[in-house]
C-alpha cells in the first residue's frame, strides 16, 4: 500500500501569524488506507486535513494528492477538490436547500450531471446512509445524526476517491454517534481511502490501518492500531490515551 501513496505530505509547515501550527508534517496515505488522526485540541490535527483540500493554505513543504501537487494554482485546487470529499464537525449542510437539493447541488453545477441522474445518485446514497425518506425535508428538520449522515451522502455524491472526516461525531449527542460511525465503518469496508480526525477509539480500532498521534503541531507517533494501543512508544501518546480511554 504505502509504496503508492494517494496522499503525500512532505515536510508541510504552516503558521498562523507567529504561531507555528504544523511543523514538518510527513504523512503518506496509500490507496484504500484508513488513517485515524488523534491528539489533544490545538495539536493541529484538523489543520492537517484541512490543508489537504486547501481549506487552509500551507506555507512550506509539498502536498501531493493522487499525483497532483497542491499549489495556489486554482486548477490544482479544483482538481484535488474533485477527488476529495469532506465531512465537517458541524455538518455544514445548506439550510436553505432540502436534503436532496443539498446532495444534487455540486453534481449539477460542478460536474454538470443531468438533473435526473443526479437525483437518482442522490437517492441511492441516501438509501445507503438509511434516510431516503428524509429527501424532501430541510436540514433544520433533521436530528444531528441524520444531518451528519446527509453530509456524508453529500460528499459521496461527487464520487470522491478520498474522504476526509474532521471530527464527524464531536458535535453529536451520544445516542447519535453510533449511527454515523456505522455509516463510516460501512464506507471503510468498501475500500474508500479515509483520513479521519476523531476521538472515537473504538471506531479507530475497528477500521484504522494506521493511527497518527499529533501534539503541538508535530506527528509524535504513527503506528498500526494494535501496536499503537497496546504499546505506544512515546510518553506523550501514553498519557493522551490513558486520558481518553480511562473514562
Amino acid at each position: 500500500m504505502a509504496n503508492d501513496p494517494v496522499i503525500l505530505l512532505d515536510k508541510v509547515n504552516k503558521w498562523y501569524g507567529e504561531f507555528h501550527v504544523l511543523k514538518d508534517i510527513d504523512l503518506a496515505v496509500g490507496k484504500g488506507e484508513k488513517v485515524v488522526i488523534c491528539g489533544p485540541s490545538g495539536s493541529g490535527k484538523s489543520t492537517v486535513i484541512r490543508c489537504i483540500n486547501r481549506l487552509e493554505e500551507h506555507q512550506r513543504g509539498r502536498i501531493v494528492v493522487d499525483g497532483v501537487e497542491l499549489t495556489s494554482d486554482i486548477r490544482s485546487i479544483d482538481a484535488i477538490r474533485r477527488k476529495v470529499g469532506m465531512v465537517f464537525q458541524s455538518f455544514n449542510l445548506f439550510p436553505h436547500l432540502t436534503v436532496i437539493e443539498n446532495l444534487t447541488l455540486a453534481p449539477l453545477w460542478v460536474k454538470k450531471t443531468p438533473l435526473k441522474q443526479a437525483q437518482e445518485t442522490a437517492m441511492r446514497y441516501l438509501e445507503r446512509v438509511k434516510i431516503p425518506e428524509q429527501a424532501h425535508k430541510y436540514p433544520g428538520q433533521l436530528s444531528g445524526g441524520q444531518q451528519q449522515r446527509v453530509a456524508i451522502a453529500r460528499a459521496l455524491c461527487l464520487k470522491p476517491d478520498i474522504m476526509l472526516f474532521d471530527e464527524p461525531t464531536s458535535a453529536l449527542d451520544p445516542e447519535m454517534i453510533k449511527e454515523v460511525l456505522d455509516v463510516m465503518v460501512e464506507l471503510a469496508g468498501e475500500g474508500m481511502t479515509m483520513v479521519c480526525v476523531t476521538h472515537e477509539m473504538g471506531f479507530a480500532r475497528t477500521v484504522a490501518d494506521s493511527m497518527v498521534f499529533m501534539a503541538e503541531g508535530v506527528i509524535v507517533e504513527k503506528a498500526p492500531p494494535k501496536e499503537f494501543f497496546a504499546a505506544p512508544k512515546s510518553e506523550r501518546t501514553r498519557q493522551f490515551l490513558s486520558q481518553i480511554i480511562g473514562h
Binding site: 483540500n53 474533485r82 436553505h96 436532496i100 449539477l108 453545477w109 460542478v110 430541510y138 433544520g140
Partner: protein
C-alpha cells in the same frame, strides 16, 4: 430545483402557522358583551398605569378625532371645481384633487395623451406584481421585463407606430416617481450585491475600490449627488455632448441607493457561518457558484428587513429630484397649488400625494413580511 421540492416551504408554513393562528384567534371567539368587557379589563385596565394610559389616549382621541372627521369628511367639499364653494363650506377641499388630479398624477404630459402614461403604469405595476410572486422567479421574468420596458418606453416617448413624440422633459407625476424608484431599486440591487461582495473580497484592489465607493457615496447627501449629476456633471462633458437630465438623475439615484444597500447586504454576508463557505469550497464550487447558490440565498433572506427599508427610503427619496427641476409626484402636488384661487388648500394636495406614497410604501412593507415568512418557512429550526 424541481416541482415537488418547491412546494414544500408553503406546505410547511401552513402547518406551522395553523396552531399559531388558532391560539391568537381564541380570545376573540368569546361571544357578546361579557367577552368584550373581559377583553377590555384585561387589555386596557389591567393596572393603574395602564388605566391612566388608556384614559389619556381616550382624551387625546376625543380631542383630535371629532375636529379631524369634521374637517376631512363632514364639512368637506368633494366636487364642484370651484374654490369658493370650499371656502364657504370651511372643511377639506377635496374638490382640489378632483380638479387637479390629472396634473398631479401626470404633470406636464400633454393632456389629451394622458391615457399613455396611465396604460404604461398599469402594465408596469402588473409586471411588478408578477415579479413579487416567487413562483415567477426564473429567466422568463427577465424576458417579460424587457417587453414591459419596451412597451412602456414606446407609450411614454411615442414617436412611432402612430403615437406622437413626447420628450421626457414633459414626463411627470406618478409615472416619473415610479420610473425613478423602480429602476433605482431594481438596478441598484445587483450593483449593491457586487459592492458588498467586493468589500469582502480577498483581492486588495477590488476591496479598496468598493470600500472607497461605499464610504464616499454614503458620506454625501442624495441632494448633492443629484445636484452634481444635474449641474456639475455636464460641465465635464465635451462641447456638444449632452446627457439627458432624467437619465442623470436616475443614475444618481441608482448609485446612491446601491451604496446603502451594499452595507445591508454585507451585513447578511457577515452573518453566514464560515462552515457554509468551507462546505461549498470543499465540494469544488467556484466563487460565483458558491456565492450565487449557497451564500447569497441565505444572506439575502437574513437582510430582507433592512433591504426593504432601503427600498422604501429610495422610493420616497425620489421626491428630492424637485431640486433639479423634474416633476415627480410631490412636485406636481406642489405645483398644482400655484393656481392662485386654489392656493389655500395645500394640505389637501399634500395629503393626496402622501396617501399615494403611503400606499406604495405600505405595500412594500407588507410584501417584505410575506416574503420573509415564505422564504424562511423551510429553514425554521
Amino acid at each position: 430545483m424541481s416541482a415537488p421540492i418547491e412546494q414544500s416551504p408553503g406546505e410547511i408554513a401552513a402547518h406551522v402557522e395553523e396552531p399559531m393562528r388558532a391560539t391568537l384567534a381564541a380570545p376573540r371567539r368569546g361571544r357578546g358583551a361579557a367577552a368584550l368587557l373581559g377583553w377590555t379589563r384585561r387589555n386596557l385596565f389591567s393596572s393603574v398605569p395602564n388605566t391612566i394610559l388608556t384614559l389619556v389616549a381616550l382624551a387625546l382621541l376625543v380631542w383630535f378625532l371629532p375636529p379631524l372627521i369634521n374637517w376631512a369628511l363632514v364639512k368637506a367639499t368633494w366636487t364642484g371645481g370651484d374654490p369658493k364653494l370650499c371656502r364657504e363650506a370651511g372643511g377639506a377641499c377635496w374638490a382640489l384633487i378632483e380638479t387637479k388630479h390629472r396634473f398631479i398624477l401626470f404633470g406636464l404630459y400633454p393632456h389629451d395623451q394622458h391615457w399613455r402614461p396611465l396604460v404604461a403604469m398599469a402594465i408596469f405595476l402588473s409586471a411588478i406584481a408578477a415579479s413579487c410572486d416567487p413562483r415567477f422567479w426564473n429567466w422568463r421574468l427577465a424576458g417579460i421585463w424587457a417587453v414591459v420596458l419596451a412597451v412602456g418606453g414606446w407609450l411614454m416617448w411615442g414617436g412611432f407606430l402612430g403615437l406622437a413624440y413626447v420628450e421626457n422633459a414633459r414626463w411627470g407625476g406618478l409615472p416619473l416617481t415610479l420610473i425613478l424608484a423602480t429602476l433605482g431599486i431594481v438596478l441598484a440591487f445587483p450593483l449593491s450585491i457586487l459592492l458588498a461582495l467586493g468589500r469582502r473580497s480577498d483581492l486588495p484592489a477590488i476591496r479598496a475600490v468598493c470600500v472607497g465607493y461605499i464610504e464616499i457615496v454614503r458620506g454625501v447627501p442624495l441632494v448633492s449627488v443629484l445636484f452634481m449629476a444635474s449641474i456639475m456633471f455636464p460641465l465635464f462633458l465635451p462641447e456638444g455632448l449632452t446627457i439627458d437630465k432624467l437619465l442623470r438623475a436616475q443614475v444618481g439615484i441608482i448609485l446612491f441607493t446601491a451604496a446603502y444597500l451594499a452595507e445591508a447586504v454585507r451585513g447578511g454576508l457577515a452573518a453566514i457561518p464560515k462552515g457554509q463557505y468551507e462546505a461549498a469550497d470543499a465540494m469544488g464550487l467556484g466563487y460565483w457558484q458558491k456565492m450565487g447558490l449557497v451564500i447569497l440565498p441565505q444572506a439575502l433572506r437574513l437582510v430582507i428587513p433592512p433591504i426593504v427599508n432601503q427600498f422604501i427610503s429610495c422610493f420616497k427619496d425620489t421626491s428630492l429630484v424637485i431640486i433639479i427641476g423634474l416633476y415627480d409626484l410631490l412636485t406636481t402636488a406642489k405645483t398644482a397649488l400655484t393656481d392662485p384661487p386654489w392656493r389655500p388648500f395645500y394640505v389637501e394636495s399634500y395629503v393626496f400625494a402622501g396617501l399615494v406614497y403611503f400606499g406604495f410604501c405600505f405595500f412594500m412593507s407588507r410584501y417584505s413580511q410575506y416574503l420573509e415568512r415564505r422564504l424562511n418557512a423551510g429553514t425554521r429550526r
